[in-house]
Symmetry: C2
Subunit: 109 residues, 2 copies
DNA sequence: GTGTATTATCGTAATATTGCAATGTATAAT
DNA sequence: ATTATACATTGCAATATTACGATAATACAC
């Protein structure tokens, strides 16, 4: 017990929840918002921007990269991060597909 | 250590991540999808529908209710659940506000 | 009242996540 | 080659989440 029963759910449900979980931490949201705001790739400033330790930021960046929400390209001694545009658009569609499934004529409470 | 540093982030970031976290579990997604599909309130069938124990379902329902994503109205001895329409629409807007923040002219990697 | 059905809550075990110091790795500059 | 800089990784402690059996709590039927 204590382990998520992914076997009980559909592939889609597991995939979606995995992505949602990445958005489910304020540090990762802060990173994404900073990348959105900066209009370009960010090389390193993140540790100063957020108040977290370098190791912690690195860990969050890794999760964002694993989920393919951001890309990181090595630029000399630093790494430039930016949002993965195609994935970002894909996510917008995915989330909207869920939200739009609300029935227009719902006879409910 | 081990505790999310909510103090470092904006109210909005903390709120958003809290909602995203609710979507971050396949069982809760499965519940929501079932509610979307059923077109009306569901009284209890959820335990049979998903393969999880009653206590576990109840716990997930509680989190969905706490986040105000669903409503539960007592109907005799059972409880009828349905999606909170206004919150649902609000969430769609909130998520789209994030996704639409991607700069149209991004000079990036 | 008693019994039944339905859902909530409690207690607890297993696992996951978060955060950070310390250390490792890789590139650049001198 | 040495040093400095920027990140990544490791190891660990604190906390959170997930799951479920057992046990309430509540409403209904009788």
């Amino acid at each position: 017990m204590g382990v998520t029963r992914t076997d009980l759910f559909t592939e889609k449900q597991n995939e979606f929840s995995k992505i949602a979980k990445v958005f489910g931490h304020p540090a990762r949201l802060a990173i994404l918002e900073y990348l959105l705001k900066s209009q370009t790739c960010i090389c390193g400033d993140l540790v100063e921007e957020l108040g977290l330790a370098q190791a912690t930021i690195s860990q969050h960046l890794k999760e964002l990269k694993t989920a393919e929400i951001i890309k990181g390209t090595i630029e000399g001694t630093s790494v430039c991060y930016c949002i993965n545009e195609s994935k970002w658009h894909e996510l917008k569609v995915t989330f909207n597909e869920l939200f739009d499934r609300y029935p227009s004529a719902n006879e409910c409470c």
